[in-house]
Protein backbone atom coordinates (compact mmCIF):
# COMPACT_ATOMS: atom_id res chain seq x y z
CA UNK A 1 0.00 0.00 0.00
CA UNK A 2 1.43 3.41 -0.92
CA UNK A 3 2.56 5.49 2.02
CA UNK A 4 3.98 8.83 2.97
CA UNK A 5 7.59 8.58 4.11
CA UNK A 6 9.41 11.07 6.29
CA UNK A 7 13.07 11.53 7.10
CA UNK A 8 14.75 11.71 9.47
CA UNK A 9 12.71 9.94 12.13
CA UNK A 10 14.47 11.98 14.82
CA UNK A 11 16.35 15.26 14.45
CA UNK A 12 18.28 16.92 17.26
CA UNK A 13 19.31 20.52 16.60
CA UNK A 14 20.81 23.39 18.56
CA UNK A 15 18.58 26.39 19.13
CA UNK A 16 19.05 28.98 16.42
CA UNK A 17 20.07 26.47 13.79
CA UNK A 18 18.15 25.77 10.61
CA UNK A 19 16.51 22.42 10.09
CA UNK A 20 14.94 20.79 7.03
CA UNK A 21 12.39 18.03 7.43
CA UNK A 22 11.78 15.87 4.40
CA UNK A 23 8.74 14.06 3.11
CA UNK A 24 7.95 11.90 0.12
CA UNK A 25 4.18 12.07 -0.42
CA UNK A 26 2.18 9.30 -2.06
CA UNK A 27 3.17 9.38 -5.72
CA UNK A 28 -0.12 10.30 -7.39
CA UNK A 29 -1.13 12.83 -4.73
CA UNK A 30 -1.06 16.53 -5.54
CA UNK A 31 -2.04 18.09 -2.21
CA UNK A 32 0.50 18.23 0.59
CA UNK A 33 0.33 19.24 4.23
CA UNK A 34 2.45 19.71 7.33
CA UNK A 35 1.11 19.30 10.85
CA UNK A 36 2.83 19.24 14.21
CA UNK A 37 2.10 17.74 17.59
CA UNK A 38 3.78 19.25 20.60
CA UNK A 39 4.13 16.74 23.42
CA UNK A 40 0.90 16.63 25.39
CA UNK A 41 -1.09 18.65 22.86
CA UNK A 42 -3.32 18.08 19.85
CA UNK A 43 -2.20 17.63 16.26
CA UNK A 44 -2.13 21.14 14.74
CA UNK A 45 -2.26 22.22 11.13
CA UNK A 46 0.68 24.22 9.80
CA UNK A 47 0.37 24.56 6.04
CA UNK A 48 -1.13 23.11 2.87
CA UNK A 49 0.54 23.19 -0.53
CA UNK A 50 -0.75 22.66 -4.05
CA UNK A 51 0.55 23.46 -7.50
CA UNK A 52 3.84 24.75 -6.12
CA UNK A 53 2.33 27.28 -3.80
CA UNK A 54 0.92 27.55 -0.33
CA UNK A 55 -2.85 27.24 -0.38
CA UNK A 56 -3.49 27.76 3.31
CA UNK A 57 -1.44 28.32 6.44
CA UNK A 58 -2.12 28.65 10.13
CA UNK A 59 -0.94 31.42 12.43
CA UNK A 60 1.76 29.05 13.67
CA UNK A 61 3.34 29.09 10.20
CA UNK A 62 5.17 32.40 10.50
CA UNK A 63 8.20 33.75 8.63
CA UNK A 64 10.42 31.23 10.39
CA UNK A 65 8.83 28.44 8.36
CA UNK A 66 8.90 27.68 4.65
CA UNK A 67 7.92 24.79 2.42
CA UNK A 68 9.23 23.66 -0.90
CA UNK A 69 8.76 20.95 -3.48
CA UNK A 70 12.32 20.85 -4.80
CA UNK A 71 11.64 18.04 -7.26
CA UNK A 72 8.88 15.71 -8.39
CA UNK A 73 8.89 13.57 -5.29
CA UNK A 74 10.04 15.50 -2.22
CA UNK A 75 8.21 18.01 -0.06
CA UNK A 76 10.21 19.82 2.60
CA UNK A 77 9.57 21.95 5.67
CA UNK A 78 12.34 24.34 6.65
CA UNK A 79 12.54 26.01 10.03
CA UNK A 80 15.00 28.85 9.78
CA UNK A 81 16.09 29.72 13.29
CA UNK A 82 14.80 27.07 15.61
CA UNK A 83 13.47 27.85 19.05
CA UNK A 84 13.00 25.59 22.03
CA UNK A 85 9.23 25.68 21.50
CA UNK A 86 9.63 24.20 18.01
CA UNK A 87 10.30 20.83 19.64
CA UNK A 88 7.49 18.58 18.47
CA UNK A 89 6.52 15.72 16.17
CA UNK A 90 6.14 17.02 12.64
CA UNK A 91 3.83 15.09 10.35
CA UNK A 92 3.61 15.31 6.59
CA UNK A 93 0.40 14.30 4.84
CA UNK A 94 -0.86 14.09 1.29
CA UNK A 95 -4.18 13.65 -0.49
CA UNK A 96 -5.31 13.11 -4.07
CA UNK A 97 -7.93 15.85 -3.86
CA UNK A 98 -8.63 18.79 -1.53
CA UNK A 99 -11.71 17.01 -0.21
CA UNK A 100 -10.21 13.53 0.08
CA UNK A 101 -8.66 11.84 3.09
CA UNK A 102 -5.22 13.00 4.11
CA UNK A 103 -2.69 10.22 4.59
CA UNK A 104 0.04 10.79 7.13
CA UNK A 105 3.64 9.77 7.45
CA UNK A 106 5.13 8.49 10.71
CA UNK A 107 6.57 11.86 11.55
CA UNK A 108 9.89 13.43 12.45
CA UNK A 109 10.58 14.02 16.11
CA UNK A 110 12.35 17.38 16.32
CA UNK A 111 14.25 18.09 19.52
CA UNK A 112 15.70 21.58 19.99
CA UNK A 113 18.45 21.88 22.59
Amino acid sequence: EPEVTQTPSHQVTQMGQEVILRCVPISNHLYFYWYRQILGQKVEFLVSFYNNEISEKSEIFDDQFSVERPDGSNFTLKIRSTKLEDSAMYFCASSDSPSGPQHFGDGTRLSIL
Binding site: Q6, K42, F45, S48, S55, G107
Partner: protein, 112 residues
Protein backbone atom coordinates in the same frame (compact mmCIF):
# COMPACT_ATOMS: atom_id res chain seq x y z
CA UNK B 1 3.73 9.79 16.92
CA UNK B 2 3.23 9.37 20.64
CA UNK B 3 0.55 11.09 22.62
CA UNK B 4 2.48 10.77 25.88
CA UNK B 5 1.40 13.38 28.33
CA UNK B 6 -2.04 13.95 26.86
CA UNK B 7 -4.77 13.49 29.46
CA UNK B 8 -6.72 11.32 27.11
CA UNK B 9 -10.08 9.77 27.74
CA UNK B 10 -9.50 6.05 27.96
CA UNK B 11 -11.57 3.05 27.00
CA UNK B 12 -10.76 -0.51 27.99
CA UNK B 13 -12.60 -3.39 26.35
CA UNK B 14 -12.32 -7.13 26.38
CA UNK B 15 -11.09 -8.79 23.24
CA UNK B 16 -14.05 -9.75 21.08
CA UNK B 17 -16.36 -7.06 22.46
CA UNK B 18 -17.49 -4.07 20.44
CA UNK B 19 -15.94 -0.65 21.09
CA UNK B 20 -17.58 2.74 20.72
CA UNK B 21 -15.40 5.84 20.69
CA UNK B 22 -17.12 9.22 20.77
CA UNK B 23 -16.20 12.66 19.55
CA UNK B 24 -17.96 15.99 19.89
CA UNK B 25 -17.28 18.84 17.51
CA UNK B 26 -18.29 22.46 17.75
CA UNK B 27 -17.96 23.89 14.25
CA UNK B 28 -21.29 23.77 12.46
CA UNK B 29 -19.48 24.63 9.21
CA UNK B 30 -17.58 21.32 9.28
CA UNK B 31 -18.77 19.03 6.53
CA UNK B 32 -16.13 16.31 6.43
CA UNK B 33 -15.00 14.06 9.26
CA UNK B 34 -12.26 11.46 9.56
CA UNK B 35 -11.25 8.91 12.14
CA UNK B 36 -7.56 8.19 12.55
CA UNK B 37 -5.75 5.52 14.56
CA UNK B 38 -2.35 6.31 16.01
CA UNK B 39 -0.12 3.59 17.37
CA UNK B 40 2.96 4.35 19.43
CA UNK B 41 5.76 5.68 17.26
CA UNK B 42 3.57 5.97 14.19
CA UNK B 43 1.65 8.70 12.40
CA UNK B 44 -2.13 8.97 12.25
CA UNK B 45 -3.50 6.14 10.11
CA UNK B 46 -6.70 6.75 8.15
CA UNK B 47 -9.56 4.48 9.22
CA UNK B 48 -12.78 5.85 7.76
CA UNK B 49 -14.34 9.12 6.72
CA UNK B 50 -17.84 10.53 6.35
CA UNK B 51 -19.33 13.60 4.75
CA UNK B 52 -22.09 15.67 6.25
CA UNK B 53 -24.68 14.47 3.74
CA UNK B 54 -24.49 11.03 5.36
CA UNK B 55 -25.24 9.84 8.87
CA UNK B 56 -23.64 6.41 8.72
CA UNK B 57 -20.83 4.75 6.85
CA UNK B 58 -19.44 1.27 7.22
CA UNK B 59 -16.03 -0.19 6.56
CA UNK B 60 -14.37 -3.43 7.48
CA UNK B 61 -15.25 -3.97 11.18
CA UNK B 62 -15.76 -0.22 11.63
CA UNK B 63 -18.80 2.02 11.44
CA UNK B 64 -18.89 5.79 11.73
CA UNK B 65 -22.06 7.55 12.83
CA UNK B 66 -22.62 11.27 12.42
CA UNK B 67 -25.29 13.23 14.27
CA UNK B 68 -25.20 16.77 12.96
CA UNK B 69 -28.00 17.92 15.22
CA UNK B 70 -25.90 17.46 18.34
CA UNK B 71 -22.53 17.69 16.56
CA UNK B 72 -21.48 14.21 17.56
CA UNK B 73 -19.41 11.60 15.81
CA UNK B 74 -18.76 8.03 16.89
CA UNK B 75 -16.56 5.17 15.76
CA UNK B 76 -17.75 1.65 16.37
CA UNK B 77 -15.26 -1.20 16.15
CA UNK B 78 -16.75 -4.66 15.98
CA UNK B 79 -15.09 -7.67 17.61
CA UNK B 80 -12.22 -5.61 18.99
CA UNK B 81 -8.79 -7.22 18.73
CA UNK B 82 -5.54 -6.56 20.61
CA UNK B 83 -4.17 -4.92 17.45
CA UNK B 84 -6.87 -2.27 17.78
CA UNK B 85 -5.17 -0.88 20.88
CA UNK B 86 -4.12 2.68 19.98
CA UNK B 87 -5.12 6.32 20.32
CA UNK B 88 -8.08 7.23 18.11
CA UNK B 89 -8.57 10.77 16.83
CA UNK B 90 -11.51 12.34 15.12
CA UNK B 91 -10.75 15.22 12.77
CA UNK B 92 -13.03 17.68 11.00
CA UNK B 93 -12.77 19.98 8.02
CA UNK B 94 -14.82 22.95 6.91
CA UNK B 95 -16.17 23.36 3.42
CA UNK B 96 -13.49 24.88 1.23
CA UNK B 97 -10.75 24.63 3.83
CA UNK B 98 -7.62 22.52 3.51
CA UNK B 99 -6.81 21.95 7.14
CA UNK B 100 -8.03 19.27 9.46
CA UNK B 101 -8.87 20.12 13.07
CA UNK B 102 -8.02 17.24 15.34
CA UNK B 103 -9.71 16.26 18.56
CA UNK B 104 -7.81 15.30 21.71
CA UNK B 105 -8.04 11.58 21.09
CA UNK B 106 -9.18 8.51 23.03
CA UNK B 107 -6.84 5.76 24.14
CA UNK B 108 -8.34 2.32 23.47
CA UNK B 109 -6.88 -0.62 25.35
CA UNK B 110 -7.98 -4.11 24.41
CA UNK B 111 -7.68 -6.69 27.17
CA UNK B 112 -6.86 -10.18 25.84
Amino acid sequence: GESVGLHLPTLSVQEGDNSIINCAYSNSASDYFIWYKQESGKGPQFIIDIRSNMDKRQGQRVTVLLNKTVKHLSLQIAATQPGDSAVYFCAEKETGANNLFFGTGTRLTVIP
